[in-house]
Amino acid sequence: MVLRTALAILAKDLRIEARTREGLASALVLGVLLVLVFSVAHDAPADRAPSLAPAVLWVTFVFTGLLGVQRSFVLEREHDALAGLLVAPVDAAALFFGKLAGNMLLLGVMQAIVLPLVAVLLHVELWAALPALLVVLLLGNLGFAALATLFAAITVRARAREVMLPVLLLPLLVPVLIGGVKATQAILVAGLAAAREPLGVIAAFDVIVTVAGVLLFEQVVRE
């Protein structure tokens, strides 16, 4: 039941996205621009460029993700769509999982564009490392999307909402940021086995924030 409702919410968000293309378009443009800005600002010589890639990737993911997740809740706030969903009635956990899945998809599509771009611009050998990097990205996306979904539901209804989401989210996201950067570094240098420790950190983070998100989401969306 929860799963079916969650899928219905995901389908609704995907349909909106397919018709407007706003979320993906703005996330993609912002992502590409951030990569360009970081690369230009660092101005690294060709031999040192690959070592910048992990940090550039993850900072880009975090800031683009913030924008995307924020947007998915701005839609719900307009015309009190969220209140409508809740009286439908939609279970808070189903709403959380539906939104979480939508946000993970958005992040994934954005990364599918940004990752090759970073590989080209910063001279990273992508193909060999790609399967291992997918593991890191998937784990990172889950943790990021779970925490961001929980907090975006809060900040979208707060008064200073544009600033509030990054202010609340960035310090709590540190494990994903550090874990993601360290795991990506390790994979690019030595392969998946070397990234076990940072991957463990991200996985622990995923479990904690997903469980906390499911349990606390009702408190957040309740009118």
Partner: protein, 232 residues
């Protein structure tokens, strides 16, 4: 006002004077670091008070979500404010010590990184409370943040250790057994900790009382306005 609220400021004040006397007059200077090391007796108790404050935020947040009692919410705000205050003191006293000892004001050592992230989480908590909007909703949102914060902190602690994965933990061993060789040093730390904790407790209680008074003042104002509206 209860007896404890009258006694606490006197207790905190007396302990604070005793701690100052111990720190500046009685305790011997540490052999290697010299006089600068004395800031340790303020720095470490402040860190404990900050941690205690943040744990209290989480406890009060759980109580608020479970019972919906405004008193629990007021305790959470008070604990967060006092926690951020002492965390700020940690971040000020630390660099004062670090500059002469390490040669730099700041370094991204795991423990320092952890402290500044903690500060950011609870500064965000206070921002949410001040600029959040409607009162009941903000109290609930803040409670969620207070709980998630304390759940994520252990993972942040582990993750910041990855930052210096290749370096040995040189800078973090300063509180090892060699640090407090003299029994007077341990006494000074104990008295100073008691003083800081008493001060923190007094601040929390005062802040809770202030919030309770504020709540009843706005309730009275609403009643008065309603009555004036009825007669007009």
């Amino acid at each position: 006002m209860r007896v404890v609220d009258v006694l606490l400021p006197w207790l905190a004040g007396t302990l604070m004077l005793a701690a100052l006397g111990l720190i500046f007059v009685v305790v011997p200077s540490e052999a290697q670091m010299g006089v600068v090391q004395r800031i340790f007796y303020v720095h470490v108790p402040c860190a404990w008070a900050a941690y205690a404050g943040f744990v209290l935020v989480a406890g009060a947040s759980v109580a608020y979500l479970a019972t919906g009692r405004p008193a629990a919410d007021r305790l959470a705000v008070a604990a967060a404010e006092v926690g951020v205050l002492f965390c700020s003191l940690v971040l000020v006293t630390g660099p004062i010590w670090a500059r002469p000892i390490w040669g730099v004001w700041w370094t991204w050592d795991p423990r320092l990184t952890m402290t500044v992230i903690l500060w950011a989480i609870y500064a965000g908590y206070l921002l949410l409370r001040s600029f959040g909007g409607e009162e009941d909703a903000v109290a609930r949102w803040a409670a969620v943040l207070g709980i998630v914060g304390v759940l994520v902190i252990p993972v942040i602690r582990v993750s910041v250790r990855l930052l210096h994965g290749i370096h040995p933990a040189v800078l973090t061993t300063r509180e090892g057994s060699s640090g407090l060789a003299d029994p007077t040093m341990r006494l000074t730390l104990a008295v100073s900790s008691a003083a800081v904790l008493a001060l923190a407790l007094w601040l929390v209680r005062s802040r809770v009382r202030l919030a309770a008074l504020g709540a009843s003042a706005s309730r009275l104002r609403r009643e008065l306005e309603a009555r004036e509206g009825a007669t007009a």
